[in-house]
């Protein structure tokens, strides 16, 4: 399956936020840990609602957590 064009910086942001675990982030945004794993691997593009919830969990605007296309800078 091809990688999605919607990428994210979730893994880096977790580490920058007191090494937050995948489970802690999952609990904060109301999904299972499996979904956070899939997001970090780029196997799943979240719904707009989930994307906003994740951005709010890091206190960042949406575009600093998610990007469209090949943008690996943070």
């Amino acid at each position: 399956m091809s990688k999605k064009l919607v990428g994210n910086h979730i893994r880096k942001l977790r580490f920058n936020h007191d090494e937050m675990t995948q489970q802690q982030l999952a609990d904060k945004v109301g999904v299972t840990r499996q979904t956070i794993v899939a997001l970090e691997k780029g196997n799943y593009s979240p719904s707009l609602e989930l994307a906003f919830r994740i951005a709010h969990a890091f206190n960042l605007p949406l575009e600093e957590v998610f990007f469209y296309g090949d943008n690996t800078k943070l």
Binding site: G30, V31, T32, R33, Q34, T35, A38, N43, Y44
Partner: protein, 147 residues
Amino acid sequence: MTYQEKKSIVSLISAILIFGSYCLYMYPRFPEGGLESETFHFWGSFVLILTLFSIIAHILISIIFNIVFRITTREKEPKFADELDKLIDLKANRNSFFVFIVGFLLAMGSLIIYEPSQKMFIILITAGFLSDVTGSITKLYHYRKGV
């Protein structure tokens, strides 16, 4: 491997084991020719008992799997289905439904070409089994490779 991946594999194996063991159990009771009413009685009870047996076996296997999962990983199984789970469920149901419909049409086709009703039931039940397997494989595929 995550909980959902393991669960899909367990579901796939249990579907094969349940159907296989039940067919082996029922094989000696298979009616050789005989009256049409006997055939319908046999296949009617075959489907109803299989449904009951399958539900009970799946519940028991699921309970055992959850206990083993908790002991081995010291993690609790997810209590809810989130948007990814629901999306994968939908894709699994779609593929499963497609396989069953193909089987159903083949079963009806066998009646059109005057095949015995036994064959129609066998095709129908096999389609049910294959649709179950397809659903589990689809789930496993999407949990591993993404959506």
